[in-house]
């Protein structure tokens, strides 16, 4: 099971939960599982959220693999000027 942590700002859309464990194989499966669990978060996942898997940050990488014991953080996407 991957350990999933959500940045505190996302707690508004998850009923306060910021840490869960999920059996997911990639980012797309992660988003699908989170969207099902937290409907208010669903519409934001693909457009507003970046994912850090074991310390590496991924943006717009739906097919990125998530290993069984991975540490995963979700937080707002980053861009710049």
């Amino acid at each position: 099971m991957a350990r999933i942590s959500l940045s505190s700002g996302l707690a508004l859309y998850t009923g306060g939960e910021t840490a869960i464990e999920l059996e997911v194989g990639n980012v797309r499966q992660l988003f699908a599982a989170l969207g099902e669990r937290y409907p208010e978060l669903a519409s934001r996942l693909e457009t507003e959220i970046a994912v850090a898997i074991d310390g590496e940050i991924y943006q717009d990488a739906l097919l990125q693999k998530i290993a069984g014991a991975s540490e995963v953080f979700l937080f707002p996407k980053i861009a710049g000027g």
């Binding site: 940045s7 508004l12 991924y58 943006q59 861009a79």
Partner: protein
């Protein structure tokens, strides 16, 4: 991307060849946005609102249309309305409903300079005359300019259907506060309870413009069958194509965008302004339409960065360990939601390893132009506040400011308060390099002060493509899709490809491909140009090398595994029993047409693994106590750049960022009258630094390679603008013994602070 190359193997990366676009630029041959013309073109001009806030009751264009020489007029009625639809666009997410209203006002005008109509005519003078004939009936509304005033419940409301997002339960009244966000970690109250020293301050910065020298300019040509060609000065031609297609409800394939040379962007050319107007004016007039903004239009109607109000509270133990950190960031978004308050909130304290953090951000609409990105969007504002408070805290603890930062510095593995743990970073290395620099120990004179501050920026990757074409003589045409936003990234791309292929840099000719010849590329923003573009170019070069090896294997009739690429040649693999005569790139290229056709390599990637950037700055200033004028005497910028592909251009990035940061700190600000009209829309009254205002800006490149890039590159363009605001404010505070918390530190403001100082 793996297959990193060690420094000892490099022949070209790390050297300083002349940039391929250099001669064109110094001889005036380079074609910028306004330099592109077509036969029969018309000139387009925009009618802008004279009011900061008003309802549009009616627009009558009949007299303008009747003026001889006027070929087309457009208003809100010529553009489809858009529903709420969000997309990434460089800085934050954009909402197409807002984008179409910012491009051409619909129900209301929301700032002085908001477009309400545009004309295309046979000359600029006729176009300007036509603008005078357009009658707009306005119902003028109360306006609000200042972010703190805009947050009040009784403030004039810009958007009647805007309810603060991020608040539970949903508010029952609309507000100018578009969004509230929060990041937290640990127990902040307990952290402050443990603190032995606490610093609490409130800081204010003014909106500042990116100050690019080239105003926005574009040329559109629409054919009768609906094909569009667009030339424009942009940081993202693919994104401009996507946005124009969306706003005009066209298929993407019908629009071809060719980026011109760009005279600076710094985030300000991530967004469309005149482009859809020019396309529709061209469609209606059946002629090409060119639109070039004046400097006044640039100031009145294109995005500056936010002004910000930031409250900071920091607590520490007497031995110099920070126990708690709090910040509230209130950012102006301008006319529509979408300031940089989110990234600013995320990087406010990321330079430090903290257990207890809470950051609250507010995105606030007000009657100013919609803000745009500006180098490390929002980070300089947050760093001004936090690094000023850090400096004051170090002073109260009687600890050297660099030593204090080292005691609390983020390192590899540090848990951030916004999400991930930090990977391989070089923050500590920049602090140590700054501490060891002779500048840090140089003596100061009377009325002089020294300041230190640090900066952090995430950096990004993103969608990127490139093609390496092996020409018939063995030279190389390199086409990449990340724009060279004037920093010299074309040279860096060519250097990496030359390094891979083992040929001289001069034999690689890099160009930026238009939207018809390459796959999608995200905007050149987020310090991704050389990182992501370089990754794509290296990937394309390596694919070309694989194809060269395969071709040589076929020509020499040996297995491909027996062929390696080294020093610009296909050679027998070392230790292999299979021997053959090596072939140079030129030899293979000459035979390519007769052995299967031309050889190329392509890459279409979504680059991941951008390495964060950190910088530490030292500045000395002298303060004239009589006038309040500040002179920057000496400046040293230290930054972890991963690896500098072309060190001179990396140094230029640092120097440019510092120069802009000095302007932000000392002079630049938008001045609005009580009527909500911008009073200083020109470089005479909006004062950016000129050469005589600046000392030589020394740079120190620290190289802690990014393990995710084949050459270790970290983005370097944004970090250098983050620290100067706080570094200068800290220096001035030390010179005067007064903590100054409001920017800019212009002579009147400094003189007033000196006069108001308690005896």
């Amino acid at each position: 991307m793996s297959s990193a190359i060690g420094t000892e193997d490099l022949k070209i990366v790390g050297s300083r060849p002349l940039r391929p676009d250099g001669v064109d630029k110094v001889t005036g041959r380079a074609r910028y946005g306004a330099d592109v013309s077509l036969p029969g073109q018309l000139i387009g001009k925009v009618l802008r609102s004279p009011h900061p806030h008003a309802r549009i009751l009616a627009i009558d264009t009949s007299l303008a249309l009747a003026l001889p020489g006027v070929k087309a007029v457009v208003t809100r009625d010529d553009f489809p309305d858009m529903p709420d639809e969000y997309a990434a666009a460089g800085e934050l997410t954009i909402n197409y409903r807002d984008v179409t209203r910012n491009m051409m006002a619909r129900e209301k005008v929301l700032y002085d300079g908001h477009p309400v109509a545009a004309v295309a005519a046979i000359s600029e003078s006729v176009a300007r005359e036509a603008l005078k004939l357009i009658k707009v009936d306005y119902q003028v509304l109360p306006h609000v300019i200042d972010v703190r005033e805009a947050m009040r419940p009784d403030a004039p409301l810009l958007h009647e259907a805007q309810y603060t997002e991020g608040v539970s339960p949903k508010p029952d009244k609309p507000s100018n506060i578009a969004k509230r966000l929060e990041f937290s970690r640990g127990d902040v109250a307990a952290g402050f309870a443990r603190a032995e020293v606490i610093v609490e301050r409130e800081f204010n910065t003014q909106p500042v413009h990116q100050g690019y020298i080239e105003p926005q300019a574009c040329l559109a040509s629409t054919t009768e069958d609906g094909q569009v060609e667009l030339w424009t000065s942009t940081q993202g031609h693919f994104m401009f194509r996507a946005q124009c297609a969306k706003l005009l409800q066209m298929e993407v394939s019908r629009i071809r965008v060719t980026p011109t040379e760009i005279g600076g962007g710094f985030g300000g050319k991530n967004n469309i302004y005149n482009e859809p107007l020019a396309i529709v004016l061209s469609r209606k007039s059946h002629r090409p339409v060119k639109m070039v903004m004046s400097r006044e239009e640039v100031f009145r109607a294109t995005g500056p960065t936010s002004g910000g109000n930031v409250k900071v509270r920091l607590g520490a133990t007497k031995d110099g360990r920070i126990t708690a950190a709090f910040a509230e960031l209130n950012f102006q978004a301008g006319a529509y939601p979408g300031s940089s308050v989110a990234p600013a909130s995320m990087c406010a304290f990321t330079r430090y390893d903290l257990d207890n953090v809470r950051v609250i951000g507010h995105d606030v609409t007000c009657n100013r132009p919609k803000v745009a990105a500006y180098r490390a969007p929002g980070a300089p504002i947050a760093a001004f506040a936090v690094e000023s408070a850090i400096d004051e805290l170090a002073g109260k603890l009687a600890i050297d400011p660099i030593e204090f930062r080292l005691k609390n510095a983020a390192r590899e593995g540090t848990q951030t308060y916004y999400g991930p743990k930090l990977g391989t970073i070089g923050y500590v290395e920049t602090l140590e390099a700054a501490r060891a620099h002779p500048h840090y120990r140089a003596p100061l004179g009377p009325d002089q002060g020294r300041g230190v501050a640090t900066g952090f920026w995430f950096n990004i990757g993103g969608e990127t493509s490139a093609t390496v074409n092996i020409n018939e003589d063995g030279t190389v045409a390199l086409m990449h899709g990340t724009l060279d936003v004037a920093g010299g990234s074309r040279a860096a791309m060519a250097m990496m490809v030359a390094e891979e292929l083992g040929i001289p840099f001069e034999q690689v000719r890099p160009i930026v491909g238009d939207t018809a010849v390459l796959g999608f590329n995200f905007i050149t923003a987020g310090s991704r140009g050389t990182f992501a573009g370089g990754m794509a170019c290296v990937t394309a070069a390596r694919q070309a090398i694989d194809r060269l090896r395969t071709r040589v294997a076929a020509i020499r009739e040996v297995p491909v595994e027996a062929v390696i690429w080294k020093d610009g040649q296909a050679r027998p693999a070392e230790g292999s029993a299979i021997r053959f005569e090596p072939m140079s790139l030129a030899q293979i290229a000459r035979l390519a047409g007769k052995t299967g056709g031309t050889i190329a390599g392509h890459a279409e990637i979504n680059a991941q693994g951008a390495g964060p950037g950190f910088g530490t700055h030292i500045v000395d200033v002298a303060v004239d106590r009589e006038t309040g004028a500040i002179r920057v005497l000496r400046y040293t910028a230290v930054q972890d750049v991963g690896r500098a592909i072309h060190p001179a251009y990396v140094e230029g990035q640092l120097q440019g960022g510092v120069a802009q940061g000095i302007g932000w700190a000392l002079n630049e600000e938008y001045v609005y009258g009580a009527d909500g009209v911008l009073q200083n829309p020109g470089f005479l009254d909006y004062r950016i630094p000129v050469a005589s205002d600046l000392p030589y800006i020394d740079t120190v490149l620290v190289e802690v390679p990014n393990p995710n890039h084949p050459y270790g590159v970290r983005g370097c363009g944004e970090v250098p603008i983050i620290a100067p605001l706080a570094a200068i404010a800290n220096a001035v505070s030390h010179a005067l013994g007064i903590r100054l918390c409001d920017l800019p530190l212009s002579p009147p403001r400094v003189a007033r602070a000196i006069a108001d100082r308690p005896a």
